[in-house]
Amino acid sequence: MDAYGPLALTEEEEATLAGEDGRAAKKAMEILVALGNIYGAKRLIEVKSVQIAGVSYDNLGDAGLAFLREIALDGRVRVPATLNPAGMDLQDWKELGISEAFAEKQNQVIEAFARMGVMTTCTCTPYFIGNEPGPGDSIAWSESSAVCYANSVLGARTNREGGPSALAAALTGKTAAYGFHLEEARQPVVCVEVDAFLDEMADFGALGKVVGEKMGNRVPYIDGIRRATTDQLKSLCASIATYGGTALFHAAGISPETVKRPRERVTIGPEEIEQAKQEMSDDEDVDFIAIGCPHCSPAELRRIAGLLRGKRVSRETWIAVARPVKEAAEGEGLIAAIRESGAKIAADTCFVVAPIRGRFRCMATNSAKAVFYGRAKNRFKTVFAPLEKLIEIATGP
């Protein structure tokens, strides 16, 4: 490989590349080597866990499915790996209006991953279901909000992997050491001073939009967030990664990594956050309410169940959640309470990857990320509002 790039392989890795561990492992190693050389990596490193995107049949199509089935012939994962949301609730897909034909293809995708030994839990919040790395851990995750959360809140190290490169990491237990795996690339370059009162998840989503758009792919150091819940940080991460290119920030008092505060600084005030909120709202009649982008935590489900108690929804309302979180909430009676209102639980899936383009006119959500993809991918108008307001719209006339 020396003629071709700086990447040096161990004997074991060379053997995998030569095909000694099978065809799928060889393909995987070829992908890691090519990416490593493109980005100037000197070696491969071991990863503790993998999170694989490219799961929804709506995005994969027959080409992706064919590739996954071929890999599944002899590919087996070497480290714990979970999946990004699928295109449907793997059990209650009919309730979400998914077609028989789509469901069949989606199930084939999941079967292929299962054959490889991937844990087929489909979620953008792997950290809620036990795939939770610690500070300094090297991982290979794909979902942009989860990558940002792992890097910035948990202090783990990961680039934003594409579907095939995350799969390659799972099949080899390795990734190429470049980008956010290296100390240099993780240093913040701009200090963002936040001078605004942040309360709802929606506030954090709006802040993330402002930060993302200002920073692009530069790593920010965010100062001025006094306190934040896990859910609020989840929302901030999703938004920064969606509206900017970067999947890493450092927040004073929150992020575990010790870094130097950059000299260059920008300030974000309440006006900018308000403006971001307005930009995400079209003045339209809502016919779809989307909650759970990224997937709801147990705490959010409790709050939603409380707000919906004794009410009926008059508009299509989806609450997206990871299946293990849903199952735990069933024990608390939360799922029954939500369903009693007529709202639907969408486990394993979400509004970004489900095949719902054109099905609704205007989506109301408290997620800045869902606004972006709702507009770009699904061609919806959007209304951006905090949770209580969403429930008001859902149950209103």
């Binding site: 393909k27 090519a34 050389n37 995005n59 994969l60 594409g162």
Partner: protein, 141 residues
Amino acid sequence: MKSLRGRRIFGGQAKGTALVSREAISFFGGVNPDTGVIEEEGHPLQGRSLSGRILVFPHGKGSTVGSYTLYRLMKAGKAPIAILNRECEPIVAVGAIIAEIPCVDRIDIDEIPDDSVLFVDADQGSVEVRKPVQTFRPGRP
């Protein structure tokens, strides 16, 4: 004959006719995965087929799912026989690997006229421009 050198992304050899794009290509959504015809609205190569050609373009763009489009083109027998880039990025690199298309980057693609006959040895990272065809280029009026 002109010789160009670059960096191997995926090995193999190919001889054929160049299809040159001066602009980036988005495979997902931009190329029909069953026919190999470039369908991106307003793209200089819109309406032309990359099937069986040595596809020369600066770099990929768009969704990472584009890697799978190259795989699907290969399965349909409509893939390019080699890919030459100025700077390869993960979408094209991964696509070339999974579809097993010889691929070389860091090539000065301005040195390759459209429709010229090329010999690509991706293992060596070399490209021979064997018959630079004189193509008619309309001047400014």
